[in-house]
């Protein structure tokens, strides 16, 4: 459960032969170590403080490059795609009330569960994504 650092993301871009432009570095820096699973929009808002002319296209292009280079992971949890700088296999817990998204470590021994490895005859599973929906500790107390 370790978030990629700016250096990790930048190294990935470099490895892919992409130029380390100020915009890309800023996007990498903004995403690195961010455990809030931001959307492209949220990153763009933060970035326009430093780069008032930064376009959504650049943000999306860079996030897409970062995803390809394993610098981050895209999350489809409903609504806009979210970006997670934690690329070690893990799951997510989403609070139905406040919307908070938390990383969840894999249950130890999970991969050994035979039934989950082969849900359909012939289907070649490449990865399994799990989303826990419910109430986070704070909201559960409030409810």
């Amino acid at each position: 459960m370790v978030l990629n650092t700016t250096a990790d993301l930048v190294a990935g871009l470099k490895r892919a032969g992409l130029k380390l432009t100020p915009q890309r570095l800023a996007i990498a820096e903004c995403l690195a170590g961010d455990g809030t699973h931001p959307t492209a929009q949220e990153l763009h808002q933060r970035l326009t403080e430093r780069f008032p002319s930064m376009s959504m296209a650049t943000v999306y292009n860079t996030l897409s490059a970062l995803t390809r280079t394993a610098g981050c992971r895209e999350l489809d949890l409903g609504g806009a795609t979210r970006f997670d700088p934690n690329v070690t296999p893990h799951d997510h817990a989403v609070c139905e009330r406040c919307g908070a998204i938390r990383d969840v470590e894999l249950s130890p021994g999970y991969d050994a569960t035979a039934g989950e490895q082969c849900p359909l005859p012939g289907f070649r599973v490449e990865r399994i994504e799990r989303v826990y929906r419910g109430l986070c500790a704070q909201c559960a107390k409030a409810a």
Copy 2:
């Protein structure tokens, strides 16, 4: 693993005190027994053959009502929301190549897995959604 019938969906609407308008009946009929996990757009296209003036708003409103009345379930798998008339707890397998979405029965004994019931301290899990990503049998053979 049984898909709701038109009657099931209509009964839900009725139970909720909603009027059984021709549009709603048509939408229920169109979704019932459909195992392809259609999007609102796809349903709308099919429906405009019979109701050329049917609006997307009506489709979304009705699908939302059907979801509230447990007539169907919304799926967030990336891209547009999909609607599944199978409301018994189950998972989904998505083919990365052809995009096909198949229902997957829960592994027997799954719910007994303690670690998955309590992924985060204090988090009150209401349901767990699992998505198997990979290649369906056909595409796996072709690859």
